[in-house]
Subunit: 415 residues, 2 copies
């Protein structure tokens, strides 16, 4: 396929301005954002973006999961739309680009097409999916998971958040429990523009990533039960210290990832001790293990290693150890045409391009279940993300949005 280029370009200043406006909702004192899924801040963010969709003349649909889709009519309006999008929820200490950049770039594309009075053959759709981060309601990518038929709506409604709230109740409360069916209709194709959230593009001096696929993700919650006791009077040999076991597990996860090598990563991001007091030996520890690999076989091996270690630890220290799967997604390979379309458009726009896998999970991997899907990455400064210091250079943001524009125009002319 030889892509034909359009002369239209996005307005990077406008895009940045919109990013700044959205970032004011849930803004953190030192920069960054907190808009956890289905909180009041998330509702305010949704209201703002839905308002912008309506200003652009998009037909807005809210489905039963709270996924929001803004649709722009095409010349052959009965054809399935070409969809772009991402999410606008954030982690508790999030940056301003993660997710938001893809959604607002989609709206900037629509704005440019409106101004140019360009009508594509297929309809275009800009979507934001609910609870992509999974910080409040696990698993992550929940909205797109249900959209793509990977989990039932009713099961999702029953999920309990870290604060004890129920997904269905919170969705109702913020006014985003829509009527449209979910799973939703399969688009013709789905293309997601996103910051890399890793250091590879910046370190390589390259502007555009044509994403080849997404690492598999395994999240396990581990609960260790020992015996809480007085820190001054309990001899070391008699302790069943759940906090000590949690520390050993944390170091094991790092060692496991180091030993498996390659793209394998492993993280203990959450630890809660009980009773969590200076002078009490912890009797209980709850922690999470995040394992990722682009090879399903190696990921299975990592999970096996984790469970063997937990069995040994429980036996050695007289502990009870329970595990629960919080999320499990196999690695995803994106559609080859989508990868090459992104790479080709970047090249035609004079941008350097690198084909690379994604270490983070994204809504695109869910949409890949129902249609050809792909992703465009732009560099993240020092690879920092899920952090208020998350940053991408304005020129890179603009470059990525122009690749999105050209690729969408191309896809939207498909028969």
């Amino acid at each position: 396929m030889t892509p034909s280029m359009s002369a239209v370009r996005v307005d990077g200043h406008r895009l940045l301005q919109r990013l700044r406006e959205l970032a004011e909702i849930g803004a953190l004192p030192g920069g960054g954002c907190a808009r956890l899924a289905l909180t009041d801040a998330d509702r305010a963010g949704r209201d703002l973006v839905v308002g912008w969709m309506r200003e652009l003349g998009l037909e807005v649909t809210v489905d039963r999961m709270g996924n929001v889709i803004g649709r722009r009519a095409g010349r052959d309006d009965d054809l399935a739309p070409v969809m772009c999008g991402s999410h606008i929820d954030t982690v508790a200490t999030g940056g301003v680009y993660d997710g938001n950049y893809g959604v607002l770039s989609g709206l900037e594309v629509v704005r440019v097409l409106n101004e140019q009075q360009m009508v594509t053959r297929r309809p275009l759709a800009v979507a934001f999916f609910s609870d992509e981060e999974g910080s409040r309601f696990a698993p992550d990518m929940l909205g797109s998971l249900v959209y793509a038929g990977g989990l039932g709506v009713d099961a999702a409604y029953q999920l309990i958040g870290v604060d004890g709230a129920r997904y269905g109740d919170e969705l109702q409360r913020i006014g985003y429990r829509g009527e449209a069916p979910c799973p939703g209709p399969a688009p013709h194709a789905y293309l997601e523009l996103h910051i890399e959230q890793g250091p590879v593009l910046e370190a390589s001096g390259i502007t555009i990533g044509a994403v080849t696929g997404v690492q598999g993700i395994s999240w396990t919650e581990v609960t260790i039960t020992g015996q809480s006791n007085h820190a001054g009077t309990t001899p070391l040999a008699l302790r069943r210290d759940a906090g000590l076991a949690a520390a050993e597990l944390t170091l094991f996860v790092r060692r496991l990832a180091d030993e498996l090598g390659g793209p394998q990563v492993g993280t203990v991001g959450l630890v809660d001790l009980h009773p969590n007091l200076v002078n009490v030996v912890p009797g209980r520890a709850r922690l999470t293990v995040d394992l990722r690999n682009s090879s399903e076989d190696v990921l299975l091996l990592a999970e096996k290693g984790l469970h063997e270690f937990l069995d040994e630890l429980a036996a050695r220290d007289g502990l009870t150890i329970d595990t629960r799967v919080l999320a499990r997604f196999e690695p995803v390979e994106f559609d080859l045409r989508m990868i090459e379309l992104v790479a080709g458009m970047a090249d035609h726009l004079g941008q350097s391009v690198l084909r690379l896998p994604s270490g983070a999970g994204h809504d695109a991997q869910m949409l890949a279940r129902v249609c050809p899907a792909g992703m465009i990455f732009v560099p993240s400064h020092r690879g920092i993300s899920h952090n208020p210091a998350e940053h991408t250079e304005p020129d890179d943001l603009t470059a990525g949005a122009n690749v999105l524009l050209q690729a969408l125009l191309q896809l939207a002319e498909d028969a």
Copy 2:
């Protein structure tokens, strides 16, 4: 000194009944108590015990730290009183005996003496000191520390609790900011009855511990600052993971205690990660290190080892590590006459007795700064304490209270 014995005995059933009544305040669902210092539950517990003091005819004084002393007149009422007591605050997941047992046994002694119409030469005093546990406001043993002149009242008022509240404000709020001066008057002697909170007496099959002294305590708060980042996209080699460093510190503290051997113990009881999310590399960790030894020299060595390790860790992983002393008390040796009085009285009452040090800190170590002080221990089942499962057999509770009764009668006849 050959102790002369009185024929009077406490009523163990009455004592148990009172322990049960006090345990209803702040009762936890599965047993045990939560009456953190200066909370509403602590106030309710104080009100109940003060009511009992007044019923017994004691003259109740509340000092500026909220320490409460109930005084029973003596024949030579100008002499300094013989004091017993302990505390009635608990940790967040406390048992029903820790502290409460010593205070209510003192009141049971007074009740017996009232019934027998016995008047001692010196006045008797039953005290409960504020915030012994230190779970809400560090350091622990705060009320008795200030009573004994180890810290100024105004400095104590400025202490900020784990929930952000100020000691002086909370004391005022619960109505226990009294008028009596603090530091308070030195008693003639102080004797504290307490559960062992360790396994030694039970394991030895012995009922009464004559406590020889208290281990030195060193509490350090450690704050580790690294870089929070995405758990899926950040290569292992580029991470500055504060949670991983916290885990290494936790294991180091155990290794340090093992290597120093003897009575040395070391505990990491509290760990708070930030942002504490499954998919974010922790950027900050706050944890506490509790080190104890009966030798000041070895305790200093342990602290030196801790700081050397933290320096190495910071340098190796590119972390910033800050430390803050939460509490530091040198080991205390109790007055020899008090130790032998407890041992002799236990012996005369037909109880087995063991001279042993205390691994836990107690108000008695603060009173030891201003008068001869001592302690009586009774066994703790399986050494469990700071835990709802804390248990001591009723016969042992009664035996300990009878040793207290006899020892107080002896001390109260001193010229």
